[in-house]
């Protein structure tokens, strides 16, 4: 970002009259606004897509009334939620209750800062990019616990406790599976990781170091599903057990924040898998010829992965709490370690050869 502003100032001399820090600030705010707006629109699209996918998988249509095939449905829902009464339960812990959805929302959206939509279309290319995402997206769990605790509702509390146990457990396979992509790239920067996979789909990390790259990708995807509370790991909000889990008492706009955050998190997982395993913004074949499509390709890959998540959700039942822990600690974790070792071994072999 700083470099970008410096470049601008060099090119357009009249900008020199403004103090540099101010320019940095303006650029940052502008970039954040663009990201926020773009992700928010995408999230609304996902809400619509989810309902359409669900409908058609169940031999229904899904929303059909607002706009052609209901494409404006999300906006209608947004307006509805916005106009709804803002209810705070009488015995709720009011400050926590109010800021919980904001924390969840911030956690979900701030991670997009390091997501590389194309080689230069990235708000901040941090040298610890993937590490930053892991850190920031874990913020969600704090918001969820706050929501569950402050609601003063037993169901919400159950949801929050389940969520805490779940997210903390699944952080570990997530981290280790990601290492299987970070190792061959030799960098934590999102951009460098994508650049390390350039030159056709056979260079993508999912196909490198067979079969460990592929398995690591699957492990990351499954564990990330759990982190974003999607079926079959949606036990924190398990509607048939916990009514609505941690957001039982939320309504109106506060509920909408949770909702938006969930879908933003889904897209985040999609982008991380795309970046780390599916070659980021690159077209599968002859990437240089299709360079102008890069951001679109990146988003499309993300959307495809989000679709897979929806597909899973409308196919599978939900796991129980203990089974969830079993999957994390006894299945995903050993396999993630095996992948890590496998990738390391491949790299040693290739380098020594």
């Amino acid at each position: 970002m700083r470099n970008f502003v410096d470049q601008l100032v060099n090119n357009y001399e009249f900008l020199e009259t403004f103090p540099r820090p101010l320019l940095y600030l303006i650029a940052m705010v502008a970039a954040s606004a663009i990201i926020l707006g773009f992700i928010a629109i995408l999230v609304m699209f996902f809400v619509w897509l989810e309902r359409k996918v669900a409908g058609h998988m169940q031999d229904r249509y899904g929303p059909m009334e607002v706009g052609r095939h209901g494409w404006l449905q999300s906006i209608a829902d947004g307006i509805k939620l916005f106009l709804k009464e803002d209810i705070i339960p009488a015995l709720a812990d009011k400050p926590l209750f109010v800021i919980a959805p904001i924390i969840v929302f911030v956690g979900a959206f701030s991670a997009f800062v390091v997501v590389p939509f194309s080689e230069n279309l990235i708000v901040a290319d941090l040298n610890i990019g993937i590490f930053y995402i892991l850190a920031v997206s874990s913020l969600t769990v704090i918001g969820i616990i706050m929501a569950g605790w402050s609601s003063n509702n037993k169901w919400a509390l159950y949801g929050a406790m389940r969520s805490a146990a779940q997210i903390i457990s699944y952080e570990i396979p997530v981290g280790i599976a990601l290492l299987a992509a970070v190792l061959p790239a030799g960098s934590l920067s999102m951009r460098d990781i994508v650049l390390a996979q350039s030159g056709g789909f056979w260079n993508w990390f999912i196909f490198r170091n067979p079969p460990f790259g592929f398995v690591a990708c699957i492990i990351y995807f499954v564990a990330a599903l759990a982190e974003v509370n999607r079926t079959p790991f949606d036990i924190p909000e398990a509607e048939s057990e916990l009514v609505a889990g941690y957001h039982t008492e939320y309504s109106g706009m506060r509920f909408a924040f949770f909702f938006l955050a969930e879908y933003a998190n889904m897209f985040l997982v999609g982008t991380i898998v795309t970046t780390l395993f599916l070659g980021g913004w690159e077209f599968p074949i002859f990437p240089s010829a299709f360079a102008f499509l890069n951001p679109i390709i990146f988003v499309l890959k993300g959307i495809a992965l989000v679709f897979v998540m929806m597909w899973l959700r409308w196919t599978l039942p939900r796991l129980r709490v203990d089974q969830l822990m079993y999957v994390s600690w006894k299945v995903l974790l050993p396999f993630a370690f095996a992948c890590l070792f496998g990738v390391s071994a491949w790299m040693l072999l290739l380098h020594s050869a």
Binding site: V53, Q58, D59, R60, L316
Partner: protein, 150 residues
């Protein structure tokens, strides 16, 4: 150890089978009827809102007696001998003034028992099923003609 791997294999296999089913359904034609725009063709016997063709009613009270929830209120005083009330469409002679023939549709349980004993077949269940009203009292159907001097 074998069971462990078999479990994982089974899980992946069954999940993929399930996903195949839902994928197939993604492209089958939905069966939903877009309700306010399209409507189901209701069969002849559909038991919807009650309707009484009051001209044919002879005030025999059989429907009111058949009703298990007592939602039909009929008042039918006897006509003096010299008054001729005419005949119903099937030729039955009317002998009673039907001054009140009310059906409370909020109580009705749609069993259709009242329509069966009607000797002149003037009480029927129509196919109407959309009768949202603003006031509950609007569902008290008053079939007897007001202000008609027999």
């Amino acid at each position: 150890m074998k069971a462990y791997f078999q479990n994982i294999f089974e899980a992946v296999r069954s999940i993929l089978i399930g996903m195949k089913v839902t994928w197939r359904h993604l492209f089958t034609k939905p069966v939903t009827l877009q309700y306010p725009h399209e409507k189901l063709d209701y069969p002849e016997r559909t038991r919807g809102m009650l309707f009484c063709k009051i001209e044919d009613c002879i005030g025999c009270l059989q429907c009111a007696r058949a009703c298990p929830v007592n939602c039909i209120y009929i008042d039918a005083p006897k006509a003096p001998k010299e008054v001729d009330l005419g005949v119903t469409s099937d030729g039955t002679k009317k002998r009673l003034y039907v001054t009140q023939f009310d059906i409370d549709m909020t109580l009705c349980c749609y069993c259709g028992l009242c329509t069966e004993p009607c000797p002149t077949e003037c009480l029927i269940m129509t196919e109407a099923y959309e009768y949202t009203v603003y006031d509950r009292s609007d569902l008290l159907l008053r079939f007897a003609k007001k202000g008609v001097s027999y």
